[in-house]
């Protein structure tokens, strides 16, 4: 007398059971591409001029600033951390870059100095979090506060310095890179992404990042140095944030310490929309490239709907949550037993 409690017809049941696997397969990459295309198509349909070459170029330029910062954030998120010092370091890159350039310093030296500053601050973040086992959220909040404050004191909270002239061209949506019809900054971003991808896939520290993010005690027993890898990840995040800040002077013209503020949540959102898990160990840098693109498309789409910036923000918040529903879900408690 075996009673069948399952009232769902088998075919439907198979479908239900199948769907998580389909989703699982999609989360390993293509869905992010799909979402970039989908949002683009919606934008093209809903906003006049959205798909025009000029507008696409502009979106790519905006995405490249965000994308460079998000690349750095990705490294930190992969080891299960989060970097809240990104906006302060973008601000620092912007202000220091403009100041030094304004004083006539060679741009190569300026960039070298900025990368070094970002790397150092980031490395401090990494070393402090790993040495004392502190939550990165708090540590980077604190260092971000110190750096941001120091910049305020240094500039006396005023606009200062001047962007190098070549940078305006470098970051202008109208310019092109040799035969490529996009601004050089976009090419730089994509090149950095490719280098980062090779780094995490094809280098020892790159693989160690994943192990550290996935299981800290086990990583330690597999000869992964928590301190070294944390320092590398946070250092890269800091350096890339500094670089993004410098590139932004091409936009701001002079050093503006608040320029980084929107990037606090945007860089995290780009990483998350890209599908890198905030729990660490799962994700990748190419995903963040796609995430940055999606996020910028969404913002542009909302601007195109002539929403006020406040309403845009509200809609964006809801959209971020909805997008992550697609592929950013945790395993349920049941599945973890």
């Amino acid at each position: 007398m075996s009673v069948n409690t399952a009232v769902i017809p088998p075919r439907v049941r198979n479908l239900i059971e199948f769907s998580p696997r389909v989703l699982g397969a999609l989360t390993s990459g293509p869905i992010q591409v799909v979402s970039v295309i989908l949002v683009f198509l919606v934008g093209a349909a809903a906003v006049p001029g959205f798909a025009e070459p000029y507008s696409v170029k502009a979106m790519l330029v905006i995405a490249s600033f965000l994308g460079i910062a998000a690349l750095g954030q990705t490294f930190v998120v992969l080891i299960g951390g989060i970097d809240l010092s990104v906006p302060a370091l973008i601000g620092a890159g912007n202000v220091i870059g403009a100041r030094l350039s304004g004083e006539g310093m060679n741009s190569v030296e300026v960039i070298a100095i900025l990368l070094l500053v970002g790397l150092l601050v980031g490395a401090v973040n990494g070393l402090v979090t790993s040495a004392w086992h502190l939550p990165p959220l708090v540590v980077t909040l604190a260092t971000g506060s110190v750096v941001g404050g120091a910049i305020l004191i240094w500039t006396n909270a005023t606009l200062s310095g001047k962007a190098p002239t070549w940078l305006t061209q470098f970051t202008s949506a109208a310019s092109s890179t040799g035969p490529l019809p996009v601004a050089p900054v976009v090419v730089l971003w994509l090149a950095l992404a490719v280098v980062a991808q090779v780094f995490i896939r094809r280098s020892r520290p790159g693989r160690q990042i994943f192990m550290l993010g996935a299981n800290r005690p086990a990583a330690e027993l597999m000869l992964v140095s928590e301190r070294a890898i944390s320092a590398v990840c946070f250092g890269l995040s800091g350096a890339l944030a500094g670089l993004a800040g410098f590139l932004l002077t091409g936009f701001t013209g002079a050093g503006l310490f608040t320029v980084g503020d929107p990037y606090l949540f945007q860089s995290i959102a780009a990483v998350v929309i890209g599908g890198t898990s905030l729990l660490g160990g799962r994700g990748g840098v190419i995903r963040s490239v796609l995430g940055s693109l999606t996020l910028v498309e969404l913002t542009t789409l909302l601007v195109g709907q002539s929403l006020s910036s406040a309403a845009q923000q509200a809609v964006l918040g809801a959209v971020i949550v909805c997008v992550t529903v697609l592929y950013g879900r945790d395993r349920s408690v049941r599945d973890r037993i």
Binding site: A6, R13, R204, Q208, F210, M211, A214, A218, A219, L223
Partner: protein, 536 residues
């Protein structure tokens, strides 16, 4: 003496309990009955038409290798998973167990294989976890405290500070905690899923006594263990599972351990791994000089030679775990020195103290930790990453990794540990035994001189266990010194060339060859060297 007789002797053969059997035959109605339970995960049929029933006062042993569907059945019965098909009847009425909460309300209380406890919370809070309460008034808390104290004392035989955070207690105390928690719920059906694997012999016997006592009052018990001695000691009925199906049910007395093993595995399995003589012993690989593990314990000395497998044994928390961690360089002994012979390139007669883990690895000392999930592997990452992580440096050319090299290395080392890579990519989806093989393979590339294994066969099914024994023996034959902490008497008796038994933080007995018997081991566990010394 047959194998099973020895096991009975090892646990101090207890009367089966006449009252219990009488009760079981009197009441025909089962407490819990499962009929035709099925569960699929994608294409895998984890459980097919699973049926069993547990009568009041009856202890049913659920037997099977890993992946045989036991865990799925347990999860379905405890409300963690809902079955695709089939019914569960409690006291003759069909119920739907949508959550563990529903199962608990129906009187089905499960102690899961993994110790599931809130380690930040106090022991008291953990014991009453999940008991809703209208208010936590002072008298209510006092009552809880009193009940918890009594239940703990009954099971563990001693008192404990109920206010300490659980995370500060030993693994065994944590295991006791989850068992006591189950007992406090006065279960109709108690499911013990490998809950004895971290208990020492003494506590396990106390647990069995408690189960028998409760069985007299009508509690049913579903008992799962990979250890045949335990199963034979407690169960009235044996349910064997293979590839998701129930393949046989035997009553007590209808089958001996050998029959059951045949039933589980579907073929004959060698009862134990062969033990080689001490003839193959090579030069000393580890030397312990006047080592003390804790303040004011007796210093001891020991050597481990290349080519032999040496067991570390004792009741939980008596020093064997500290010693293996000292050997690995994960902690330093309280006093004294741990010398390990040099790695390749060093002269053999140049032993040096091991002070750090990394230093140990550089000298060819490798360590396989106890808790696979916590320390052994990253279950979200691919098998290949879990294999190659510590030795990745070998696969890079000018800083760039060559995945093909890693792959070919893995294929070679996987063969050595008898692991066949399948289509599975993630290590989390492998069975416990295969995970352990990957973890061991990981270190083969480091050309280990000393292999430290911390209870490597815990939660591994019989068949894979024997495969692992072959691997360990092979490594020893190839010239490595293998030191293995084990909590299983069978394993110590059949595999080890020598066994170092610990008591009260110090070496209490050293047994070699045929002197390693269940009796000598158990008496050494309790620090009665009179008998142990007789075998020495």
């Amino acid at each position: 003496m047959t194998n099973s007789e020895m096991q009975d002797a090892a646990i101090g053969a207890v009367e089966p309990g006449v009252a219990r059997t009488a009760l079981a035959s009197l009441t025909s109605k089962a407490i819990v009955e499962a009929r035709g339970l099925s569960k699929r995960f994608g294409a895998t049929r984890a459980l097919v038409d699973g049926s069993l029933s547990v009568a009041p006062g009856e202890v049913v042993a659920l037997l099977g290798e890993n992946g045989s569907g036991k865990s799925t059945l347990v999860k379905v019965l405890s409300g963690v998973l809902s079955p695709d098909q089939g019914t569960i009847l409690v006291d003759g009425t069909a119920v739907r167990l949508r959550s563990p909460r529903a199962a608990l309300a129906a009187g089905i209380v499960t102690v899961f294989q993994e110790i599931l406890a809130a380690r930040d919370r106090s022991l008291l809070d953990n014991l009453w976890l999940g008991h809703g309460s209208p208010v936590l008034s002072r008298p209510a808390v006092a009552r809880r405290r009193q009940l918890a104290t009594e239940a703990w004392r009954r099971l563990a035989g001693h008192d404990v500070d109920l206010d300490r955070p659980l995370g500060e207690l030993t693994l065994m105390q944590q295991q006791i905690c989850v068992v006591v928690r189950a007992m406090l719920r006065n279960p109709k059906l108690l499911i013990l899923d490998e809950s004895t694997s971290t208990l020492d012999v003494e506590l396990r016997d106390r647990l069995f006594d408690e189960v028998r006592r409760r069985a007299v009052d009508g509690m049913g018990c579903l008992f799962i263990s990979h250890r045949m001695d335990e199963v034979m000691a407690i169960a009235d009925q044996f349910v064997a599972m293979r590839t998701g199906q129930v393949v046989g049910i035997r009553r007590r007395g209808e089958a001996d351990a050998r029959d059951l093993i045949r039933l589980i595995s579907g073929r004959d399995v060698e009862a134990g791994a062969r033990r080689t003589g001490t003839a193959t012993r090579g030069p000393a690989a580890i030397r312990l000089d006047a080592v003390t593990l804790r303040p004011s314990t007796r210093p001891f000395a020991a050597t481990v030679c290349r080519g032999e497998i040496v067991g570390l044994a004792g009741l939980e928390g008596h020093g064997q775990d500290e010693l293996i961690r000292c050997l690995a360089g994960l902690q330093t002994p309280h006093s004294g020195e741990v010398y390990v012979a040099g790695a390749k390139g060093h002269a053999d007669d140049d032993p040096a103290p091991v002070t750090t883990y990394r230093g140990g690895v550089a000298r060819g000392v490798v360590y396989v930790p106890r808790d696979r999930k916590v320390e052994g592997m990253a279950d979200v990452l691919p098998i290949i990453d879990n294999y190659s992580m510590p030795t990745l440096g070998r696969d890079s050319v000018a800083g760039v990794l060559r995945p093909r090299r890693t792959k070919s290395r893995f294929q070679r080392d996987a063969r050595t540990v008898n692991f066949t890579p399948g289509r599975q990519d993630s290590i989390g989806r492998l069975s416990g035994g295969n995970q352990q093989k990957v973890i061991i393979a990981r270190w083969l590339a480091a050309e280990p001189r000393v292999i430290l294994l911390n209870d490597p066969t815990r939660g591994v099914d019989l068949k894979t266990k024997h495969e692992l024994y072959e691997v360990f023996r092979g490594l020893a034959d190839a010239g490595a010194a293998v030191v293995m902490l084990s909590s299983e008497v069978d394993e110590l008796v059949h595999l080890m060339d020598r066994v170092l038994v610990f008591h009260d933080g110090s070496l209490s007995a050293e047994l070699a060859g045929d002197d390693v018997t269940p009796e000598s081991l158990v008496s050494a566990y309790f620090g009665t060297p009179a008998i142990a010394a007789g075998g020495n």
